[in-house]
Subunit: 551 residues, 2 copies
Amino acid sequence: MNDREMSCNSGGQFMDRGRMNQNGVVQPLLTDLYQITMAYAYWKSGKTDDQAVFDLFFRNNPFHGEFTIFAGLEECLKFLDSFHYSQSDIEYLRQTLPEGIENEFFEYLGNLTAHDVTLYAIDEGTVAFPRVPIIKLEGPLIIVQLLETTLLTLVNYASLMATNAARYRMVAGKHVKLLEFGLRRAQGPDGGLSASKYSYTGGFDGTSNVLAGKLFNIPVKGTHAHAYITSFSSVGELKTRLLKHKQTGIMEDLLEHAIRHRQMLSHVLDVSTEESSEGELAAMVSYAIAFPDGFMALVDTSGLLNFSAVALALNDLGYHALGIRIDSGDLAYLSCLAREAFEKVAERFKVPWFNKLTIVASNDINEDTILSLNEQGHKIDCFGIGTHLVTCQRQPALGCVYKLVEINGQARIKLSQDVEKVTMPGNKNAYRLYSADGHALIDLLQKDSEHPPAVGQKVLCRHPFQESKRAYVIPSHVESLYKVYWKAGKICQHLPTLEQVREKVQISLKTLRNDHKRTLNPTPYKVAVSDNLYNFIHDLWLQNAPIGELS
Amino acid sequence: MNDREMSCNSGGQFMDRGRMNQNGVVQPLLTDLYQITMAYAYWKSGKTDDQAVFDLFFRNNPFHGEFTIFAGLEECLKFLDSFHYSQSDIEYLRQTLPEGIENEFFEYLGNLTAHDVTLYAIDEGTVAFPRVPIIKLEGPLIIVQLLETTLLTLVNYASLMATNAARYRMVAGKHVKLLEFGLRRAQGPDGGLSASKYSYTGGFDGTSNVLAGKLFNIPVKGTHAHAYITSFSSVGELKTRLLKHKQTGIMEDLLEHAIRHRQMLSHVLDVSTEESSEGELAAMVSYAIAFPDGFMALVDTSGLLNFSAVALALNDLGYHALGIRIDSGDLAYLSCLAREAFEKVAERFKVPWFNKLTIVASNDINEDTILSLNEQGHKIDCFGIGTHLVTCQRQPALGCVYKLVEINGQARIKLSQDVEKVTMPGNKNAYRLYSADGHALIDLLQKDSEHPPAVGQKVLCRHPFQESKRAYVIPSHVESLYKVYWKAGKICQHLPTLEQVREKVQISLKTLRNDHKRTLNPTPYKVAVSDNLYNFIHDLWLQNAPIGELS
């Protein structure tokens, strides 16, 4: 598949691709300098033909959870596809690296592409677990090493954000809408765009970020800020009060309707009209005239009277208001108060659709706030979530690492006094074993030379480091986790659209048992190695163990 | 000053500007949808000629500190300069906004620029405090409103990161080098670039991010990763061992020199040669051949023997090694151990420069780690800091807000039951009053119609909300904080280079008393209002107070 096909397949992402290529943000210099100094040292040492295998994986799930959503793969593939140092990059490196570096090295860099690299990966949007590589790369040592930092940059935040969003979706439930409002709190422009994109992947319904909407074809949502209210101080400032009746087409005075309703509503809602601001009424009337079919207003407690008055005025003219947004105070209490008010109005004014008005809440919300609101009981239909979503408050970075596991056919192990940090050596395959009821039981790593586990046959699954922890598993279904996504300079799979990745997240999460997904003390999902791999690891460990230490 | 002049002035930033304009990341659609729906409602209400004043400010300093470094101004000015909806933006908005929006509105948007806006700001790199607007904008309501989200996006993370970096610099002290290593943990590609740029602003000495180096002309640093070591398993794999003597030009066998030194060093350092890995020795020899004048190696405890052997071998050939990087274990202990080893070698082998070898540490470092290392005593010359720096661990977002304070000459106040959230109404000026010893005493907000405070004359400084909190201050020096940075479609100030902003940060921090800057329980710096502004706020508050509430 060539670039153009890939771009066309992914719809709105054509422009994203343009952004990457024209602006060169994701270009090979977006890396740590040591990748390039290592490249030179490898080159100088005659290692240009060395063949390496690197694993990209994380060691711990984020947010005290027991799963991670893998995201960012498409960006990685685009990066591989466009990997090439420009003349200006080479010039910069020539100035930056120490003197004495051979011209041939810069020529070598100038001709480098990722064409000889093979990239295996788990599908984007799939749940993933610690130690199971989500991406595996094979190819010439130098080029595969050079890809490290950029791939980590593209996977770490994308996966963290998709996981965070998926967690918000789980606690909020299926029927509540979730909108990402975090642009202004993200790490600059692109931090904001990544947040919008991957929160949508993880299960959000839309974003306030217009550019993200344009680039990724994500629904964009928004009403107005408090400034809109403060920009009016009295109804006298309204330059127009007229709105065309939706059915008759006759111009009518919306303000007059609203004031009349406000008088009556004041009794129904037990709020004095004097308690509600004239400026606010003016602002709402003008906003309703601008968006008669999409009237959604930011309200505080006293704003309910003005909102209901304007919504009833719109109703007189044949329009249905959408609802309100609450941005301060006790959200559970205020949402119940608002819902109660809407129910009263629905009944007294015979407008049953008033019961269905949407209540959006958007003040400093995080996973715990939603859980607490659920406990208290609330009537919120939609959460707008900013800061805590995009900054991933509880854990602001995912710690994916990229480790050399094989070179020229020889497995490599990285030892550490911290067993957690010992790497799984060699070229491996990964399988997910399922029970008869469709739940994922365990992820199993094997040496790539081993036969895949077979359905209905018992497989010995071992803890990679604890001799005594082992069990037989009889899978009802075996999923081979890796696909070849990039080989011989081509993307080898039909890439899913953002929508499809988003669906994949929910499908993949369904295969996980609920106890792995719960917020409090979730059960760890097991990751095992085959008996063969276990023995291989420990033999290699022994061979490499330093003398004089108890390891 | 035109664009080209501005770009030329800022040196390396010309390319950054290119990145912004060609790739269009910082384009006006990088905003929340509600800005555009509000723009339409304002337009529809006949408010196109309304003149507004907005304040951009934060309410709390980050990281439990008592100061914030303002950064991001240059990016804001570039954004204003290029503000223009493209035809494709307009097309996207036409599809996205509700039906029924007049064509004239889209024409209006298509012709919008920021030419009628005036932007006042505090200098970039200056210390700033809660409630004192860091940017003030005057101009047509619609356009000034439309700038909100993008300006917040450009200022929030930039200022947060510069502040974070400045805090690391303060705890590390002047003589320790600080390098930013966080690209792989940032919010995607641009998050990484912003982190590199603004950590340099805040006082870091360089970054590992090569693209940041190229775009912003920041020093880039780096050695090698553990993978480089693991890619060698024995000295037999070395395809070359030869290095040219720096003075004589004769090729010599570096490995042979190293092995000979290792034997002797084994006694001096009391480490058996069998404890150190052959693969590691091979890796170090090859790396030293690649960078004989810049040999810096990643070592663990046992690596000191191989490192010292290779460094002495280099010495035989006329080169001086640079040092080591420690990336795991007890950094205080290991750095002392390494320094002690270097001192022994310096003495025994008569190589005094060995005492001065650089020790870099880079494992999961944050402000507290550095404080703790300082207490324990360490011998680290340079910290490489990633995750906690770029994610701003202790507070991942700065909460700048953007509030309407005046419209058509009438002041606006936003009331809230939370006094913290009440805005300072009207068009204001800000002054910083200094003592005779050059320390900043207080920031004073005044109505813009008031005369500036005068040197040597007492000024009544009042707490904005607490009647009883007031004091007379006699300033020895008065600094007017705002400059006009953008007016009539032009940037009005000579923009400093990144280097100059970086210097400004340190100069500005020096004007703050140490007790405001200390890590534990710093003294709050005072922000006051003039008596005139105090009365104005409270009169307006009273006029706007709702009936029936004790406010």
